[in-house]
């Protein structure tokens, strides 16, 4: 009996150590989700912290109560604790524990709904947003800048302090666009255009990766998001326009072929490429798909070329 007890205690100490290690380690910057650099990531982190606190309030007492009950009512001949084999219902007690989770779910539910609605709006209203069109390919990421007319592969430059509207689609199996330090992910799906608002408030280079499995090259489906000041962003655009080749239809067809590649920059890309891709991949069958997408339906000639 004693040996068993020691073993159990050793197990508990071990568990506690692991938990502490995880908590302490959370302070290190490698925990990207816990170190957001923009308002979207921060709002999500707030919800993560709130939900963690709420569930801990419930489960810690439950586990402690269990340990206490098991110890107090263990089956030993000299145990003096009361034994009532037919005590099997209590309206008051049951009322309490139908009540506790209802209250917790009520609080967390309200916070969740509020944040859910907040995140579909631009994080900042006073600054003109930047639009970046994102096409996930096998196994690379193409970023199109419809207002700046430049394009990149596997890295995305954005200005700090400016809300960025990512328009997402896929011209390959569906994938998911995730930059943990900026905020949560959104899927890229063929034939659909989806929107994700993100914003970086600090300059820096942030890890991004396709988050939904896409087959053989999935593990190498990485990209960077580089946030720089306004002026640096504009000079980068100018430089891209001057010193890199343009992305042509033929070039895009080549990109679309499954492969893993490094980064690339293009001074221009075929106008309406994003919308034409969505249209050709099935957007044409979805009524209303282009109502909300800048540029609207592509013209027929363009989409036939896809």
């Amino acid at each position: 009996m004693d040996r068993r007890k020691t073993r159990r205690r050793a197990g508990q100490v071990g568990l506690l150590a692991v938990a502490m290690a995880v908590l302490l380690a959370g302070c290190s910057p490698e925990y990207m989700v816990l170190h957001p650099v923009g308002p979207v990531g921060w709002q999500e982190l707030h919800l993560i912290v709130l939900s963690t606190v709420l569930v801990l309030i419930v489960i810690v007492p439950v586990i402690l109560l269990m340990l206490y009950i098991v110890w107090r009512y263990r089956d030993k001949p000299d145990n003096k604790a009361p034994y009532q084999p037919h005590w099997a219902s209590s309206k008051v007690l049951e009322f309490i524990w139908w009540g506790i989770p209802i209250v917790v779910v009520g609080i967390l539910g309200a916070a969740t709904v509020r944040t859910t609605y907040a995140l579909v709006k631009p994080p900042e209203n006073n600054v003109k947003p930047l639009t970046v069109e994102v096409v996930s390919l096998d196994w690379k990421w193409l970023f199109l800048y419809p207002d700046q007319h430049v394009a990149t592969v596997n890295y995305c430059k954005i200005p700090t302090g400016v809300p960025v509207q990512f328009e997402l689609t896929s011209d390959a199996p569906m994938n998911s666009f995730w930059v943990p330090q900026l905020g949560g992910q959104e899927y890229t799906m063929p034939g659909m255009s989806m929107r994700l608002w993100l914003q970086a408030d600090e300059a820096g280079t942030y890890y991004g990766h396709g988050a939904n499995f896409t087959g053989e090259g999935f593990a190498h489906d990485q990209f960077r998001v580089v946030a720089v000041g306004d002026e640096d962003f504009n000079s980068w655009v100018n430089q891209a326009k001057q010193s890199y080749p343009a992305l042509t239809q033929a070039g895009y067809a080549k990109l679309k072929k499954p492969s893993v590649m490094g980064e690339a920059t293009y001074s221009a890309f075929p106008k309406g490429l994003f919308n034409a891709t969505v249209w050709a991949d099935g957007g044409q069958y979805m009524p209303g798909m282009f109502n909300d997408v800048p540029g609207g339906k592509p013209d027929k000639a363009m989409s036939d070329g896809m």
Binding site: R4, Y73, T112, M174
Partner: protein, 656 residues
């Protein structure tokens, strides 16, 4: 001739793929030779055929489910260790992307559909008829068909690794990745066809147990006197009946896309992949409840028995089971909050998902207060139940955290999610199935599994579990995605992955201890001579262990919820032992080879569809039709067990 053999070897047996395939080939061959040799040497072929392959006895079918579940647990576990070995360090090349993708796909599929499902069906079969005072399930013949469809589906799925290639698109199998355009080989067909075949069998089981519990209860057992395990099985069966058709339809349509060029889920031609994802999760989420509700049922039995006390809040327990059954059907979208359904939809499903936590929380408190003022014996089933309460409390907590949609945008597809669902399914389901196995093992086999070795297995598996999965929560917050076959060194993921791998191996060691425990106990385990080795509360414990094949010589009349406990308490156990003169002949269903043959036919039909060998498929389907027709004209499928024989059997166990 030689050329043809080489072509066959390269295409179907994949001889060029290297040592992983060769090793598997050798192991499979050795196993087959071993089994054939043992059966022949021990002259057991006839015994195997008569007692097992053609049986319609729910207890034997239950045992066969259990054996298969344990074997599949082993296979899925080996997959898991291969996965963890590959991920132990950054830039590892133990497996290549292709094999890794196949292995994580088969790991998930096997663990859910070919391990967890047969495990719950094992317990359905072993316990339910005995608990409710019935002589068999409502449809014994259908029960055998369900088993053999599962068996041959699992067989078909398992040979894929060495015959043509395994599926490699994840157990969720999302199109368009699984459409022909991106995934040519036969692997994905294996997945679709074998899940379809086992899905048909599962529906049969669902129908069977709903009918059994509603119609076959002993006289006097009103619904409010049904033991909680049987209530849980009823709830689980209702969910099966509600959602498995959705899975079967989704699989069939995707198979049409792949084999016959249909466009249900393709991206061009107006199909919509989202439809598959919806149908899949309409089944996929309730599937979690299908398995975990049964585990909840086990815990309710175990806690009451080993606290020597009535279950606390029986009515609340039933109400919460039913609440989970209903609410669980409207939570599926939380698997794709990140697919742009919009804030209205996401808000609804976030709150509905959190709401499932309410009845689950109530059950937790009721279990705790069943122990409160009881007398707690820390036997193996009870240990696993206590471990469940801790583990599942955390799993439920992270589940609620994941349900907060905007937070989920950060957890989705990451190792945080992986850690959560393993904690829910291992801590909830596997712990429950093991508790149930230990609990009913003496009833099945007449001996108890050794406690000492069992405790080793328990601690190893539990410690291994936390060492394996706690680091994965952290990895998720570090941005690690699921399903990457390798990762770079500069992100700092190496250490935690290595720890996690160690944990997986400790769990593997724990499983080995269970194997040793079973083998040891066959010879040295404590024999159960009373039939009530745990001093338990429900009717199955009033019978001898193992139970005679007609179950109850005379059907008991039920007046109480914990009937057997009440009788013992009032010293009335003699009421269940009937006078020799009261024994009447019993109608029993005949054994039949047809369910087995039906399974064989489905296997070959499945193989035909996997490789598009339509002649084979047509012939095998003809076999299916013949089996069905033959059954339709079978007029005498029952026999009478004479009163004398029953008296003899009862006398042998000292009950007359």
């Amino acid at each position: 001739m030689w050329e043809a053999i080489r072509h066959f070897g390269d295409t179907y047996l994949m001889w060029r793929e290297g040592p992983l395939i060769w090793g598997s080939d050798v192991l499979i061959l050795l196993t087959i030779i071993g089994i054939v040799f043992a059966l022949t040497y021990l002259k057991k072929w006839k015994w195997l055929w008569r007692e097992w392959l053609t049986t319609v006895d729910h207890k034997k079918i239950g045992i066969m489910y259990l054996v298969c579940a344990l074997l599949m647990f082993f296979r899925g576990g080996v997959d898991a260790l291969l996965i963890r070995t590959q991920l132990a360090e950054p830039n590892n090349h133990f497996l290549d992307a292709e094999h890794y993708n196949q292995i994580f796909t088969t790991h998930g599929t096997i663990m859910i559909l070919f391990m967890a499902m047969p495990f719950i069906f094992a317990l359905f079969n072993i316990a339910v008829p005995l608990q409710i005072g019935a002589r068999d399930v409502a449809f014994p013949y259908l029960n055998a068909i369900s088993f053999w469809l599962f068996f041959f589906a699992a067989f078909l799925f398992n040979i894929s690794f060495v015959f043509g290639g395994s599926p490699d698109a994840g157990w969720t199998s999302y199109p368009p990745l699984t459409e022909l355009g991106f995934d040519k080989g036969p692997g994905e067909n294996y997945y679709l066809v074998s899940l379809l075949i086992s899905g048909i069998g599962t529906l049969g089981t669902g129908i069977n147990f709903i009918a059994t519990i509603l119609k076959m209860r002993a006289p006097g057992m009103t619904m409010m006197k049904v033991p909680l395990f049987s209530w849980a099985v009823l709830a689980s069966s209702i969910v099966i009946l509600t959602v498995f058709p959705a899975l079967n339809v989704a699989l069939a349509l995707l198979l049409f896309d792949r084999l016959f060029g249909a466009h249900f889920f393709t991206i061009a031609q107006g199909g919509n992949p989202m439809m598959f994802i919806n149908l899949f999760w309409v089944w996929g989420h309730p599937e979690v409840y299908i398995v975990v509700l049964v585990a909840f049922g086990v815990y309710s039995e175990v806690v009451a028995t080993f606290s020597r006390k009535e279950i606390f809040g029986y009515k609340s327990m039933v109400a919460s089971l039913m609440a989970i059954t209903v609410v669980g059907d409207v939570t599926w979208v939380h698997h794709f909050f990140t697919m742009g359904a919009g804030p209205d939809v996401n808000s609804f499903f976030a709150v509905s998902t959190m709401a499932v936590g309410i009845p689950t929380g109530v059950k937790m408190f009721n279990w705790l207060f069943t122990m409160y003022r009881g007398r707690i014996r820390l036997t193996l089933p009870m240990l696993w139940t206590l471990a469940f309460i801790v583990c599942f409390a955390v799993a439920g907590a992270t589940g609620v955290m994941l349900a907060a949609a905007p937070a989920d945008y950060q957890y989705h597809n990451s190792y945080f999610l992986v850690a959560h669902f393993h904690q829910a399914l291992i801590g909830g389901v596997v712990f429950g199935m093991l508790a149930g196995m230990y609990y009913w093992w003496p009833k099945m086999f007449g001996f108890q599994l050794d406690e000492r070795i069992g405790r080793w297995a328990f601690w190893l598996f539990n410690i291994g579990f936390y060492v394996c999965f706690m680091p994965q929560y952290a990895l998720g917050l570090m941005g690690m995605q699921r399903r990457m076959y390798t990762y770079p060194a500069d992100l700092g993921w190496g250490t935690l992955n290595f720890i996690s791998t160690i944990g997986a191996y400790i769990m593997g060691l724990g499983f080995l201890f269970i194997v040793v425990q079973v083998l040891y106990s066959i010879k040295y385990g404590k024999r159960d001579v009373t039939g009530d080795i745990w001093d338990a509360r429900t009717l199955e414990w009033s019978l001898p262990s193992p139970v005679p094949h007609y179950n109850f010589a005379v059907i008991p009349h039920v007046t109480d919820r914990d009937m057997w406990a009440t009788l013992k308490e009032q010293g009335r156990t003699g009421e269940l032992r009937t006078a020799a003169s009261d024994i009447r002949p019993i109608h029993m269903p005949n054994n039949s080879a047809r369910p087995f043959l039906l399974g064989v036919c489905f296997f070959f039909a499945g193989l035909g569809f996997v490789f598009e060998w339509y002649v084979l498929a047509a012939l095998a389907l003809l076999g299916v039709a013949v089996c069905l027709l033959a059954r339709s004209f079978e007029l005498h499928d029952e026999h009478d067990l004479s009163a004398d024989e029953i008296r003899r059997t009862e006398a042998l166990s000292g009950r007359l």
